[in-house]
Symmetry: C2
Subunit: 449 residues, 2 copies
């Protein structure tokens, strides 16, 4: 047996559900389905109940405990009725559950130890008629069920665990990785786990797959997988460029040197304050942290705002000459925008270029504006007027304290910043973040592919 096969064999043992796990799940699903059907009979409408998701297709990784049940209503009922009926069924099946809102409301709850989503949708003839994203799910399910046998389902489990290990699994907006559906489509397209890795190791973005050869739109994402059930949709739209490259890297590395460790996510030993100080000292940088209470939002709303705020902070700093070595953002009770600067302090004056001397009105205006100030100049350099004037901001702290509201931030972060409800830590003071973000700091200071 090759080393590749040996490693894969050992991983299979961990990710394949045991017969007992399968049986227990199947029984629970049956009981849930029965309860849902019973609740439907209370309604004056012709609805059916459908299990979807990885547990419906045998592609779940051992230990995952998610069950997705969809209740499909006829397309001629109103949206209001759909929502009302959906919640009625959901609350009947999961009396301890709570109502959640994606595109429309559904019920989430725990049943016999499983996490259950009970979701209403329309029963349609074609995925192109869908009214909301959940209507698409039954079509995805049907497409995959038809193409995945038990063997391929096992390869999906391996590939999922591989993606989990490298940190690229999950289409949530924090991870921006590969969804379950995308994972399964890739295995359907390429074949077994090994063939899937081989294909990925040769990806050169833009990568474009169109299993049904029916694309009806153009996409500029690094990875494009046209949805077999919707020619206008890229299943991989959410996947970040970094995650595409990361998966290419790990596919190539694992094929060259199969190492079981890649299937386990890194969980670095948290850094303590002294550890943070040691890295800052060694790196000779000036770290800057903007710290505030995390806004009360679900992750899919919170992280896009934090990413946007982090990028706005970086752009604002670089625009003023503070080159950022790297930046990050983390959230727990508090949230942090973190930027590590290459310089601590800039000169008191900065070069400010005016228009070319010959652009007469504009140039004269510039000259007169500065002629009697205490700026150095105006003088002529090349074809332009130039002055050396006092810089707005000489340190990153000044920027974070006085100019943060000027940069593009996520909406909730913006209102926090406008109220001034944040703290600025500079230099070794960021070490105090280790109490809450020791693991994130450990990952930051030990970055790997």
């Amino acid at each position: 047996m090759s080393e590749f096969e040996a490693v894969v064999e050992r991983v299979r043992e961990r990710v394949d559900p045991t017969p007992d796990e399968r049986a227990a799940l199947a029984e629970t699903v049956e009981r849930l389905t029965d309860r849902a059907r019973e609740a439907v009979t209370e309604l004056d409408v012709d609805a059916d109940v459908l299990q979807v998701g990885s547990t419906a297709r045998g592609t779940w990784v051992a230990g995952d405990r998610d069950i997705d049940l969809f209740v499909r209503f006829p397309p001629d009922i109103s949206r209001e009725d759909l929502e009302a009926y959906g919640l009625q069924v959901g609350n009947a099946v999961l009396p301890e559950g709570r109502e959640e809102y994606a595109e429309h409301p559904y019920v989430k709850g725990v049943f016999e130890g499983y996490d259950v989503d009970l979701v209403p949708c329309y029963r349609l003839d074609s995925a192109t008629d869908i009214q909301s994203a959940v209507d698409r799910t039954p079509f995805h399910n049907a497409y995959l069920v038809e193409r995945l046998d038990d063997n391929l389902a096992g390869d999906v489990r391996l590939f999922k665990q591989f993606l989990k290990g490298v940190g690229a699994y999950g289409s949530d907006l924090r991870t921006r990785g590969f969804s379950g559906y995308l994972t399964e489509l890739l295995v359907v397209e390429y074949g077994e786990f090994r063939e899937t890795l081989e294909a990925i190791s040769e990806w050169e973005p833009q990568v474009r797959l169109d299993p049904e050869d029916h694309a009806a739109a153009t996409f500029d994402d690094a990875l494009v997988v046209v949805d077999p059930t919707d020619p206008e949709r890229n299943v991989a739209a959410v996947v970040s460029d970094t995650n595409v490259a990361r998966v290419i890297h790990h596919a190539r590395a694992f094929l060259a040197d199969p190492d079981e460790a890649v299937f386990e996510p890194d969980s670095p030993e948290p850094l303590d304050a002294a550890g943070v100080r040691e890295h800052v000292e060694r790196r000779g940088t000036t770290p800057l942290a903007v710290v505030f209470d995390a806004p009360d939002l679900v992750d899919d709303q919170l992280y896009p705002q934090l990413y946007r705020s982090r990028d706005g902070l970086v752009r604002g700093l670089e625009k003023r000459g503070f080159w950022v070595l790297r930046a990050a953002t983390w959230a727990d009770e508090r949230a942090v925008l973190f930027a590590e600067l290459e310089v601590a302090e800039l000169s008191a004056v900065e070069r400010h270029e005016g228009p070319p001397v010959y652009v007469s009105g504009h140039a004269t205006g510039f000259y007169e504006k500065y002629a009697d100030t205490d700026a150095y100049g105006p003088f002529v350099d090349g074809e332009r007027y130039v002055v050396e004037r006092e810089r707005d901001v000489r340190t990153a702290r000044e920027f974070a304290e006085d100019h943060l509201p000027d940069v593009a931030l996520g909406a909730h972060v913006e209102s926090i910043v406008e109220r001034g409800d944040y703290e600025v830590l500079v230099g070794e003071r960021v070490a105090s973040l280790a109490d809450e973000f020791g693991e994130e700091l450990a990952g930051y200071f030990d970055p790997s592919a």
Copy 2:
């Protein structure tokens, strides 16, 4: 009388030679010409003697004491004979003179208090037949003599003094300004002093003049004045972009507000060491000076090398992340390359981007090169591998001490630097330059258009 006319009237009084000065000069020129003709009769060749330059055309500024006499030989004698005859005549006329070398040898000396150049050239029918640059001078002279009357000669004197005042007069390679010939051509083209300034105040580079409408080449200089005696030559080729813009600025400013001061070059009060320190403190910069004994070269060789070295220093610093606010170079007994930095010190690590992950051979090489070093990473960012590795140079001093030979320098400066015969001054230490370069430092720290 308008303010413009009043100012110009006062300046005329200073720049117009008096009748006595004219008469004295004419007599000296006559005696010189006689001596030269006499020396020519000693030779077995048919040569004539021609006065050229500003004193031949009445365009010299009062007090200038330069006389240019050309001895024109028939084109059928050899270059060797021309040079031998030229020196023979020169030494006979100016027995105290010394031989100088431009494109070919000539004699330079003092005669009755005037600085005299006695230059041999060929007598040709057309300027396009010239064998060296000096052969062109008689054609320039003839062209101008035909077009400049006494009135326009007075306007040339005003315009010359104006250019001297703003620091843009002189086609030497230190100044890179307007030659006498170019100055006169512009007045011939535009008319009186006022019309010349008005035309210049409306220049929008690229400015293109072709008095004879015969250009036979393309030029990319900011100012192009096609030589009336040579369709392939731009008379303004040496003029820097900065000097073009500077002259536009001063023409516009003087027309808007005529101020006699513009006709006098700035000669700032030299700064002392305390004055330098005060500016450095106020500007919050990190100045860096590379100081060495000035190579023993004429200015037209020295300054191009110093400029090239200054630019090489700036590029080398900026390539390593040290942003340069401004740079300069000065020469006296010693020479200085001066660069004023916006930052004192950079982080110990720097970001180093590798190839896109998918460029497989190259990418794998990069990854393996850094995988087991103490660099941070490699990690994946966007589509690329990135490492954070130790920076070569954290301070400008380290750069100047260890990496100066890597940048493009002028040839003589390069050999000085390679021998290590230079001193590096950083921060307030540059104040010690004030002893030798107090005036240059004063100009540097009080830059004006």
